[in-house]
C-alpha cells in the first residue's frame, strides 16, 4: 500500500470516528464537546481534500467551517442553558433510527458511486488548482449560473435574517 493510501485510510477513519462522536458520544453529552468533535471532523475531511490535490478546497474548508461557522456555533451553544441536554441519555430509538438512516444513505451512495465509476486517473492537478476552480466557477462554463444563484440565495438569507432580527419594523 502506497503512502497516500495509508493517509487516506487514516483520514477517512478519523472523519468517521469524530463524526460518530459528534452525534453519539458515550462519554459526554455536553453540546460543546459535540461541537468540538465536529471541528475535528471538518479538519480530517480537509485532509481528504488534500489527498485529492484540492488544496484550495481543503484550506477553505478549514477557514470557513472550522474557523468561522463552528466558532459561531460554539458562541451560541455557550450562551444557552444546556443542563437539560447534558443529562439526556442516548436512547434506543435514537440509535436504531440513526443507524437505519446511515445504512440507507450508505447503500444509496454505494450504488451511485458503483454505477458512475469514472475512468481511472482523472487529471487531479486540474481539479485542485485554484485558477482552474476559479475559471470553472466564473466563466461561461457549466457552473456559472448555479454559482450565481447560490450567491443570490445567500444574499436573500442574509437580508431575511436582518429583517427578522429587527425588533420594530417601521
Amino acid at each position: 500500500m502506497a503512502f497516500p493510501d495509508i493517509l487516506f485510510y487514516i483520514c477517512a477513519f478519523l472523519t468517521l470516528l469524530f463524526g460518530a462522536l459528534v452525534v453519539a458520544n458515550p462519554f459526554s453529552r455536553n453540546p460543546v464537546t459535540s461541537a468540538m468533535f465536529l471541528v475535528l471532523t471538518i479538519i480530517s475531511m480537509s485532509g481528504l481534500f488534500l489527498l485529492l490535490n484540492a488544496f484550495f478546497l481543503a484550506t477553505v474548508q478549514i477557514l470557513v467551517y472550522a474557523g468561522a461557522v463552528m466558532v459561531l456555533f460554539l458562541f451560541v451553544i455557550m450562551l444557552l442553558d444546556l443542563k437539560e441536554e447534558q443529562r439526556r441519555k442516548i436512547n434506543l430509538f435514537g440509535i436504531v433510527t440513526g443507524t437505519a438512516s446511515v445504512a440507507g444513505l450508505g447503500v444509496l451512495l454505494w450504488g451511485t458511486i458503483w454505477s458512475q465509476r469514472s475512468p481511472a486517473n482523472p487529471d487531479l492537478k486540474l481539479i485542485g488548482d485554484t485558477k482552474a476552480l476559479g475559471l470553472e466557477l466564473f466563466t461561461k462554463g457549466q457552473f456559472l449560473l448555479p454559482f450565481e444563484i447560490v450567491s443570490v440565495l445567500l444574499l436573500v438569507a442574509m437580508v431575511g435574517v436582518i429583517l427578522l432580527s429587527k425588533k420594530e419594523l417601521k
Binding site: M36, F55, T59, I62, V71, F75
Partner: protein, 378 residues
Amino acid sequence: MAWLDSLSPQTQFVFFTLLKIACVLGPLLTLVAYAVLAERKVSALIQDRVGPNRVNLPLIGSIPVLGPFLTKLGFWHPLVDGVKSFIKEDFTPAHVRKIYFWLAPAISLVPAFLVVAVIPFGSTLGAQKMVIADLNVGILYTFGIVSLGVYGIVLAGYAANSKFPFLGGIRASAQMISYEIAMGMSVIPVFLVVGDLNLGKIIEHQAQNGWNAFPVFGGGFGLQQWLLVPCGVVSFVIFFISALAETNRLPFDMAESESELVSGYHTEYSSMKFGMFFIGEYANMFAGAAMMTTLFLGGWTLPFLGLDQPADSILMGLVHIGIFMGKMLGFMFIFMWLRWMLPRFRYDQLMDLGWRRMIPLALANIILTAAVLALTNR
C-alpha cells in the same frame, strides 16, 4: 556533505524539512521569551522608568564590564521568568471542566506555530528555499490556521466555568470572527495585484513592482503603480488593525480587559498553563508581524543594493534572513509601542469599528483595486 548526497531525494527533503523546523522553532521560542522582556523595557521607556534590571548570574555577573551591563539590560530575566513559570504551583480550581482546562492552553499555542510553516523568512541558503512548506495556497493556509486560534481562548473561557473568564471567551469569539472578515478582505487586493496565493510568488512580485503597502519604488513608476498606492495603503492599514485585534493586543484586548474582567479568559490559570497562553500571544504577534512583512513590506527584499534578487551565496542568504527579521522586529516594536500608548476601546466601539467602518472600507478597496487593474489593463 558526501553522506547527504548519497541519500535519496525524499530522504533529503525530510531531513531538510526537519532541520528547517528546528531552526525556525528554536529561535522563535527564544524571540518570544525576549519579546516579553522587550515589552517590559518598552513600557518602562514610555512610562519613564528603568524596567527589569536585577537578575544577576553567579559566574557571568562577575565579568568586569559585560556582567553588570547584561544585568542592567535585563538580559537574564526571560530565563528566570521561564524557571518561575515551571516551578510555581500548577493549581487546578475545583469547579473547572478539567479536559478543556488542560486542552485550552495547548490549543492556543499550536496555531501560532503552525502559521510560521509557510512564511518565507529568507530567499535561499545553499540549494534550500528558506520556507518550511512552499504551499501554493500559502495565504489561505495562514488564514485557516489563524481562524483556529480562537478556540484556545473560547475554550479557556468555557473551561473556567466562572463568569469573568466566560465573558472574556465570549468577547474573544465575537471579536476574532469580526476582525477575521476585515482581515481576509484586506488581502484580496493583494491577490488581485499579484495574481497568486503563494507567499514566495508574492515576494517575487513585490521585488519587481515595489512593496504592496506602497507600490511606487521598485521596477517602474508607471501610472498603474501610482493609482495602486491608495489601495495598498488602505489594505495595509486595515490588515494591521485587524492583526492587532486578532492577537488580542491593546487597544483591542477585550478578552483580557483587566479593569473589567480580572484578567479575562485566563483568570483561573496559573503556572505554566498561564505561561502557555502568554507564549501563544507573543508567538501570534510574531506570526502576524511575519505575515505583514511578507504580504505588504516585501518580505526579505530591500529595493536597493541588489538585495531583491534571490541569494547566490551563503552570506547573502543570511543577509536576507536578517532583513526579514529586522522588518518583523520593527512590527513587534510598533505592537508594543501601541499597547502602552493607547487606551482600550469599549466593546461596542470595537464592534462598530470592525463591522461598520473596516469591512465596508475593505469592500470598497477591493472594487477600487479591481477597477484600477481593469482600466490600466495588465
